[in-house]
Symmetry: D2
Subunit: 392 residues, 4 copies
C-alpha cells in the first residue's frame, strides 16, 4: 500500500468507532459553512432540537465538540464542586475510570465496585445512600463498554432521584441501540454521542442536562469558563440567535444531523429490535461454539456488544489478527483491566443486523480453529441462524 | 426551507471556518475504521508524518482531536507551570485572550499590548526580556484573526530563542496561507489546524512541539494527564504501534489527510502566492472604494484575511446581511473588541483565488451603496482587477 | 499535476456540463443497489414520478440512460416513420442538427431555417403547415444552446397542436431555468436532462411523451426494439413492478433524485427568477463593456446562457484561455457554425446566481484588456451590479 | 419509508450492478467539470490510458458513454456490415442475445449453440470455420452472466485469429475478476465496463479495439455516424486535444478513474485471487448444502458468479425475497431462459471477499429451510469456511 498503509479490513464489528451508515458519511461531506452564518446557525438549532427528539426530552440538547470522553470529563469538571460528595458506580473499566475524574473535583469520592462482569443493583445504591445521605451526585455508566455489561440505570436513577441527589449517566454506547433515555433513568446529565449505536463518526458529545444540573453548575465556584471543560459556555449555543463560544465542529454536526435522520426515519423501536436480535443470535452462537460469555448473567449482557472470555491459554490479539487476516473481519479486544481477558463483538448502527452475527461467529470460530482450539463452527453458525430465523 | 433552515449562501469568504476544498469534504466521507485497527493506525502515522512534511519539521506532528482553541488551551495547561513567568504578546483579541489562559497556570503574567490594529516588534520583546530575564515562556499569535494583522514572529522568535525562553506561536490562520513554519520562528509549540488556509473542516489541532517544550511539560507537576487538556497523553500516539489514549476523530483525520495532499500536491509556494495575490487585489479594491484598511500599515496586513474599518455611522451586521441578501456573499465581522468596528474578508484555502477579491469588493461596495453610503464600486473592481492582471 | 492532469479551474460558467450542486454530487455517491432489488425499483418509480411533478405532467417520466443527445436521437428513431413528413425548425446548430437525425427516418424533411441569431415565429410555422398540411411531425429546439437564443415554442406548439401534428421539443438547456413545461408548449415529446439548469451531471435524458406520441411510435413499423434507440423498450420501466429492459444508470438516477429535490424544494419560480436575473445582469454588463450580444434581439436571449459576439479580429479560444489563466473562470465557445463567432456564459443551476454575472463580466473584460482590446471593465461591472441591486 | 420507498437491503451479492467500492462512489461525487475544459480533457486522456494499462493493451481505450449493453449493440452496428458472415457463439442468454443484434447487420448469421449450462469449445469453432471459411466475424461472451459459465475464449480466439476472422468478445462480467485481457484471447473488439468486477457503477462501456477492427468499421458503408451506435465517432476522443462528438458522462468517468486506481493499486493478481477463492468457497458451500451447481462442470463455473439450480418445486423469487427479508441479503435470479431455473450469487468487486461466501450460504440455506426445504446449513457453512481456511 502507498505510504506504508495497511490494507483495509472487509467488515468491522467493533464496539466503536463503528462503520458509519453511508448516508452519514456523505453528510460529513456537505459544504463547510461559516459558523456565524444564519444558515449554519439554523442548522445547529435544528440539530440540537432533533437530538432532543431522539433523547425524548424537551430542551435542545447540549453538544460538546469533541468525543464523549471529553464530554464526560467536562461534565465532571463543570458539575462536581469541591463541596460535593460523589458516589461512583464501578462495574467496569469505564465506570472505574469515571471515579478518577470525579475525584479531581469532589470533596469525597465514594464508590461501589463489583467484579467487571457484574452489574450494580439499585438496592446497593439505595443502601449506600442511606449510609451516606450527604451524597450529592451519583455517577454511573449504563453500558460499560469494555465489559459489555449493563447497569440497571432506570432503577438506580429512581432511587437517586428519590434521595434528592443528581444522577450522571454515561450512555455513550447504549443510547440508540436500546430503549434508554434521560427521563427513563432520571438522569440529570445524560451523555452520549453519534459514534456508537447512532452509526456515525466519533467526534461529538450529545448531552441532556436537567435544570437541577444547570443550577448546580452555575452554583459551582470552580465550574470552568472559557474552556473545553466548561459545559456552561455552550449552554445557550443551540439557539440560532446565540453566538458560539468557540468554533463548532461543522462537519461533525452535519454528520449528526444525518445520524438523527437515519435513526428517527427508521424508527427507534425498529433500530433497537435489530440490535437486540443481532446480540441474541451472537450470544447463541458463542455458547454453541462452547465458549463462555464474559457477562456473569445473560440478563446484563448488552444488546450493543457481545463479550466473550478469551479461551484459556490463548492470546486475544492473535485471535483478532487471525480473524482479520483470514476473514477480513475486525472485532475489539478488552480495555484496561479487561484487556487480554475478553473479546468484543459490536452490534452498533449499520452492523446491528443479524447476518453480522453469523459473520462474527464464523470468523471467530475459524480463527480459533486455525490457532488450534477446537470449536464447533457449524454448531455456532447453526445456533445463531436459528435465533435469526425464529424471529423472522 | 424545511425545519426552519435558512437558505444557504452562494459564496463564503470568511476568516474561518472556510469553504472546504471538495476533495477534503469527500475524504471526510471515507468509511469510518476502528481506531485500533492496523489500517487506521497506519493512516494515522502517515498523516502525522505528512503534517510534519507540511510543517517542515522532523518529528511527526501532535494532533489534538478538537478545534485549535482547545489545542491552544491544552498547550497552556500542559506547558505553563506554577513556576513560570510568561510574557504574552497582545496585539489583538486572540493574543489578549491567550493571556487569560496563561494566567490560569503561570506564576506571573507579563504582557506587551499594542492597539489592535498594530503589531508587536522584536525590539519590544527584546526590551522586555532584558528587563525580566526570568521570563520562561513567550506566547504570541502570528495572525491575530479578529484584526487581520501579523506579528513578526520570525524576528520575535529569534530573540526569544537567544534569550533561552520557550516560544508558543498560534499560527492557526496563517500557516499554509503564507511562508511560516515552526523552525522559521523558533517555535517550541506551534499551533495550527486544517480549518483555515489548508481549506479543511475545523475540528482538529495540529502542533509541532520541540524537545525542550516536551521536557518542560514533563517537568511540570501540574501538567494534566488523562484529560483533553493534556498534550502529553497524545505524545506518542502518532506511532502505528502506540495505543490512542482516547478515541481520535476518525473523519477529521481523513479530512486532514486530504488537506495535506491538496496542499503538498499544489505546492506550498503556489498556494501562498495565490493567497498573497488575492489579498493584494482585495486591499487595492478596498482603498479604491475609498474605505480604510483596519491594519495600521499595509505591511502588517495578513495575506489570509483583509480587514476594513466599518465606515462611520454604519452597522457592520447590516452591511454583512445586505451582502448576503443581495449578492449571496458571506464575510466575517469582528470579534470581541473588534466587533462592530471592522469587516473581514477571508482569503483562505479554495477561495484564496484572485477572482474572489472581485466578488468581495463588488458585494461590499454594492451593499454599502444599497445602505446609502456612496462608494465607487467601479473604481474598486477596476483596482482589484488591475492587481490581478499585472501579476498574470 | 500527477498523470499529466491540468490544474482545475476555479469557477465554471459554461453552457453545460455545469458545475453541479454539491448535494447532487453527494447523491451520486450513494451506494449502488441492484437494479432488480425492490429498494431500487421503488426509488426508480419515485424518481420517475418526481420528474413528472417537475415537468407538471401526469404520467411518470420516461428516462433514457444516456445524455440527451442520445435521447433525442432515440426520439427521432422511435417516433419518425418512413411515412412521416417532418418539419424541422432550424434557428441554430442544434436545431439544424436535428434535421439530420429526422432525415434518416422520415419520408420527407421540410425545414424552416433562419440566421442563427434569430428565432422562428409561430406565424412562419403556421404558414408552412398551411402549405404542407401533410406534415405529421414538427421538431424544434427551445433554447438553441450554441446560439443562446429561444424559439417561442409555446406559440408554435399551439399552432402545431391545432393543426393536428405531433410536436417534439428539445428543452434540454431551458427546462428548470425558466418557465417551460411540456403542456405549456403542447409538446408530444419533450426532452430534457439533469445536466443543465437542474444543476446535475450529464448522463441521462428525461422525457415527457404524450399518449399520441406513444401511439405513433407503436404504429411505426421501424421503431427500434431491444436497442438504445428504442423509447418503447423503456415505456413501462418506471413502474416498480416492471422489469428494466437493460441496466439503468444507477448512480445517475440517484443524482437525478437529488436534482429534483433541490429544484422542487427551492421552488421552481425562485429558481427561474435567479436564472433570469443573472442573465439580465450579465447582458447589461456585456453591453456596458461595449460588446455586442449575439442574439438579434434581447427578447430572444435565453435566461440560461448569454451569448456575445467575438470582437472583430480576436480569437475566441485565446479569450477563453486568458479568462481561465488569469481569473480561473471557464466559459463556453460556440459549436459548429457558431464556433469562433461567439462566447457563451452559462447561467445554469448553482451558478445562476447574480454574483456570477459580475465574475463573468470581470473575467471577460480583464481577458479582453489583457489581449489588447480596450473595454470599460468598470462600466461593465457597474452595469451588472446595478441590475442586481435594483432587483433586491 | 418516505415516498413509498422500500427499505434498503443490508448486503448485496448480485451478478451486477454490484455494491461499489466506497472510494469509487466518492469519486462520482467529484465536481462536474466542463467537458471541453483542459482539465477534464486531461483527465479523460489519463483515464483512457489507465484503462489500457488495466486491459494490458497499448492504445488508449474506447469509452462509450452508456452501459455495456449499449456498447455491445454499438459494436455490432459499427463492425458488422451487410457483407459479413458472422458466427455467433450461444452458450447462454447473453450469447444468444448477441446473435439478434448481429443478425440486424450481417449478411448471414451462423450460430453454435449449446445448452445454457455448457461451454463452447475451440474445437467446435474450428470445425465451423473449416466448414464456412467465409466467416468474417466471430462473436462470443466470455462469462455468460445469466448462466455463470465461461467459454474458453483464449483458445477460441487463437483459432479465430489463425483463421483470419475478427473476434468480438463480451467480457463485461469477467474482466477484472479473473485473468482475461484482449490480447490473451486475440480479441479485436473486447468489451467490458466498470459495473461488475471493477466494483464501480454501471453506466459506461470500456473497449479495446484492434487496428483490424477499426479498419473493418471504416470500410463498413453502414457504420453509423453522429449516433450513439457509432464507435468511430469516439475513436479519437481519448486525446486531450480532440473534441468530444457528444457530451461524455463526466461523473461516470470520474468513477471509472477511481475504479482503475482501486484495481491497479491492489494489484490485479490479488484481486483475481480473492474472486477465485470466494467462488471456490461458495461452490463448496453449495455442494455441502446438497444443492446442485448450474454449470455442467465446475471447470466452467465463473469465479465471478456462482449459479445454483433452483431446487425442484421451489420458486426462485420466493427464495430470494426470503433471503432478503430474513438476512438482508440480496442475490440475483436468472434472466430470460434461465429465469426461474437458477440462483446467482455474485462475487464481484468489493464483495469478492471470502467472508461473503459464508454470508451467501447462510442466507440461502436459511431461506430454503424457512421455506420447508431441508438443507444442512451447518455443513454448508463448514465447507465454505474450510476452503477459506485452507487458503489462508
Amino acid at each position: 500500500m502507498a505510504d506504508g498503509r495497511v490494507k483495509e479490513p472487509v467488515i468491522t464489528l467493533t464496539a466503536g468507532p463503528v462503520q458509519a451508515y453511508p448516508r452519514i458519511s456523505r453528510a460529513m461531506a456537505r459544504p463547510i459553512h461559516y459558523d456565524f452564518d444564519p444558515y449554519f446557525q439554523s442548522v445547529y438549532e435544528d440539530v440540537a432540537r432533533k437530538c432532543a427528539t431522539a433523547l425524548r426530552v424537551e430542551e435542545p440538547a447540549l453538544i460538546v465538540h469533541a468525543e464523549p470522553a471529553v464530554g464526560l470529563e467536562a461534565a465532571a469538571a463543570s458539575l462536581i464542586s469541591r463541596d460535593d460528595v460523589v458516589l461512583n458506580l464501578a462495574s467496569g473499566v469505564y465506570g472505574k475510570g469515571y471515579g478518577y475524574w470525579a475525584a479531581r473535583y469532589c470533596k469525597e469520592l465514594l464508590e461501589i465496585e463489583v467484579p467487571y462482569n457484574e452489574a450494580i443493583s439499585a438496592a446497593q445504591v439505595s443502601q449506600m445512600l442511606r449510609t451516606r445521605p450527604d451524597i450529592a451526585i451519583v455517577t454511573a455508566v449504563h453500558h460499560d463498554t469494555p465489559s459489555g455489561t449493563l447497569n440497571p440505570v432506570n432503577e438506580i436513577g429512581k432511587v437517586v432521584r428519590d434521595h434528592g441527589s443528581l444522577f450522571l449517566v454515561d450512555a455513550v454506547s447504549s443510547f440508540a441501540g436500546m430503549d434508554i433515555h434521560p427521563d427513563d433513568c432520571y438522569a440529570d446529565v445524560f451523555v452520549t454521542g453519534p459514534g456508537k449505536c447512532l452509526g456515525g463518526a466519533p467526534g461529538l458529545t450529545v448531552m441532556a442536562v436537567s435544570e437541577a444540573a444547570w443550577e448546580h453548575m452555575e452554583a459551582n465556584p470552580d465550574c470552568p469558563g472559557a474552556s473545553v471543560l466548561s459545559l456552561t459556555d455552550w449552554k445557550d449555543a443551540w439557539s440560532k440567535d446565540a453566538p458560539f463560544p468557540f468554533t463548532p465542529a461543522i462537519a461533525e454536526i452535519n454528520g449528526l444531523d444525518a445520524a438523527l435522520d437515519v435513526y428517527l426515519e427508521e424508527g427507534p423501536e425498529t433500530v433497537w429490535r435489530r440490535h437486540a436480535l443481532t446480540a441474541r443470535a451472537c450470544r447463541a452462537g458463542v455458547k454453541a461454539l462452547g465458549l463462555e460469555l464474559w457477562a456473569a448473567r445473560e440478563e446484563i449482557a448488552s444488546p450493543t456488544a457481545t463479550t466473550i472470555k478469551v479461551p484459556d491459554g490463548m492470546d486475544d490479539a492473535l485471535i483478532r489478527s487471525t480473524m482479520r487476516d483470514v476473514f477480513g473481519t475486525v472485532i475489539s479486544g478488552g480495555r484496561g483491566d479487561t484487556a487480554g481477558k475478553l473479546l468484543r463483538i459490536g452490534h452498533m448502527g449499520p452492523v446491528a443486523e443479524p447476518i453480522y452475527a453469523v459473520v462474527a461467529i464464523t470468523a471467530l470460530a475459524g480463527a480459533l480453529s486455525k490457532l488450534g482450539r477446537e470449536v464447533d463452527l457449524a454448531a455456532g453458525v447453526a445456533a445463531a441462524t436459528a435465533v435469526i430465523m425464529e424471529s423472522a
